[in-house]
């Protein structure tokens, strides 16, 4: 049937003193109801900009959406007025940010911060909103909810703040939750707890989730589909199982090389691939990854690869997938078979 969210040919850039940063280039993907889609990629690859554009949080200026559509329940969010967008933000789509230490208002009680959305969107009375806020605090696994309701962010630990952020985000039962590196700033043990909480709540409420992460282990454990971004572009995307079994882009191979074996995946993190991402002021004409790619061919430098369809819903922007290209052994797969 119809998708919950469909992003089509999204292009976002920022005007800076140095020139125009093309942060997101021609990104298209969709999210189904109740599905978890992960976005992975190096720092600066445009993950945050992509999702913040969906939420209308890109500061304009300097930011500008140059092209594209963001269809949410078949309405183009980019065409909505500020007011119409305010009705969707926090009620139908909500967001959890990367840094729980700075993402809560330091001078407002936690309970009040959870209530705000309920009062604005669901027009709850003060007492109803309060009851629901306490319920949300309990739901995200914070003990002594009544007491915690009256506390300020500085009285919460990092993990609890992120739980509070999740409570804020889920208070109005959104259809889509965007989590931008929700666990990066947390301790490893807390990371697992917060992820479990999100998965758990997703099961209960059937909220779709876009999960941005640096951690392929997290992707393997939680997501159903994954989008690999590089230099503002989607270089590979597909179902998690299929993409991890049969990755078809050298950048994805690079990301996966750090994973010794799939069972211990959650212990590994992304290790840097040699070289650095291209200059987004004037991205190269050809494949953005070509300068760092061991398998780069002549055509890679001069012509942008199209999105080759590998399998159902599995796409890769790499010339190696062209029938005329030489067969390159997939190192990751090969390495794994040897073990």
């Amino acid at each position: 049937m119809t998708n919950l969210l469909e992003v089509k040919n999204l292009e976002v850039s920022f005007k800076t003193f140095g020139g125009e940063v093309q942060a997101v280039r021609n990104v298209s993907f969709h999210v189904d109801k109740g599905e978890i889609v992960a976005i992975v990629g190096e720092s600066g690859s445009g993950k945050s900009v992509t999702v913040q554009t969906i939420m209308g949080l890109i500061p304009t200026p300097p930011g500008k959406v140059k092209n594209g559509e963001i269809l949410f329940q078949n309405k183009d969010l980019l065409k909505l007025s500020k007011r119409e967008m305010q009705k969707i933000k926090g009620s139908k789509i909500s967001m959890v940010f990367q840094d729980p230490m700075t993402s809560l208002n330091p001078t407002m009680r936690i309970g009040k911060q959870i209530e705000e959305g309920l009062i604005v969107h669901q027009k709850l009375s003060k007492t109803e909103a309060r009851r629901r806020a306490v319920e949300m605090i309990r739901l995200v696994g914070i003990p002594n909810a009544e007491e915690r309701y009256n506390q300020y962010p500085h009285e919460f630990s990092g993990g609890m703040r992120q739980r509070a952020m999740i409570a804020i985000a889920l208070s109005c039962n959104p259809e889509l939750l965007i989590a931008d590196e929700p666990t990066t700033a947390l301790d490893v043990t807390i990371q697992a707890q917060v992820l479990d909480l999100m998965k758990d709540l997703k099961e209960k409420t059937n909220t779709a989730i876009i999960l941005i992460t640096h951690d392929l282990g997290v992707v393997a454990e939680t997501a159903e589909r994954v989008i690999v971004m590089y230099a503002g572009m989607m270089v590979e995307s597909g179902r998690v199982n299929e993409l991890f079994e049969n990755p078809r882009h050298p950048y994805t191979w690079g990301l996966m090389e750090s994973i010794p074996d799939t069972n211990a995946a959650h212990k590994s993190r992304l290790v840097p691939i040699e070289g650095s991402p291209p200059d987004l002021f004037s991205p190269p004409k050809g494949c953005p990854f070509a300068p760092r790619c061991k398998y780069a061919m002549e055509i890679c430098l001069s012509e942008m690869p199209p999105a080759f369809e590998i399998g159902e819903g599995h796409h890769s922007r790499c010339w190696l997938n062209d029938p005329r290209a030489p067969k390159v052994e997939n190192e990751v797969a090969a390495g794994r078979e040897k073990q």
Partner: protein, 308 residues
Amino acid sequence: MYIVKRVLTMFLTLWVIITLTFVIMKCIPGDPFASDADVLPKEVLQNMRAKYNLDKPLPVQYVLYMKNLATFDMGPSIKSETRSVNSIIADGIPASSRLGLQALVIALFFGLLLGIVAALNHNKPLDFAAMLFAIIGISIPSFILAPLLIKYFAVNWHLLPVASWGTWQHTVLPSIALAASPLAVIARFMRSSMLEVMNQNYIKTANAKGLSTMQLVIKHGIRNAILPVITFIGPLFVVLITGTFVIEKIFAIPGLGKYFVDSIFNRDYPVIMGTTIFFSTILVFTLFLIDISYRLIDPRIKLTSGGN
């Protein structure tokens, strides 16, 4: 506990101020009867000195003064013999405090407003206009602004009365003249504070909740941006108090400032002491209140902790 400690330091501060003022005042050359020295016979002068204890050694004078002060008696004025210092202060308070409070309210209200408007229109014409206004406000001293205001609003355009005191119309120009420069400073302060706050992550969180711009600015922006500005109210208060001396002179307002300035020229020791003690008490108490209110607004600072 914190409050007790704070009150004790408050009194200690006042005591230091009183003592220092006493010592420094006595160091100014000359005495209250310098102008009478040629006219009056020696014996009369001696008697008058004795009446005000001026013939005793300095430490004795100090102890006597502090004893009286403990009973809130600040003695008689030397120049206007019929009046006590207490009554002089009581007479001056209404005009001075009205002028000071009006200026404070004007400076705070319009300063904050200007700063917020400028920040929300960052790098747009309104921002530039507000900041140009602020720079002018800061760079023109009140003793130049006051005559200019008088010239245009009172003399040329006959919009408001000038000089003396009485109706509220009389208070408008002096209040504006006094408020102008603190207003400008507050505006600049609030603007930069607001700009910083609106860039914080928690504003993005609030925005992602779907709040309107109004709610965003009022509930999440201003409350956090105003914190550093509150600390600034202390120094602002000093500016207002000292500013009133100049403004009261220019507008011929029967306030405390006039007595304060005159008493220094006349070496009217009890009045110098009285007015200084009065002003410093107000100042120290204001700082105390600001400290407390800061702790009420910012939950991260606790009243129980020793504070830092």
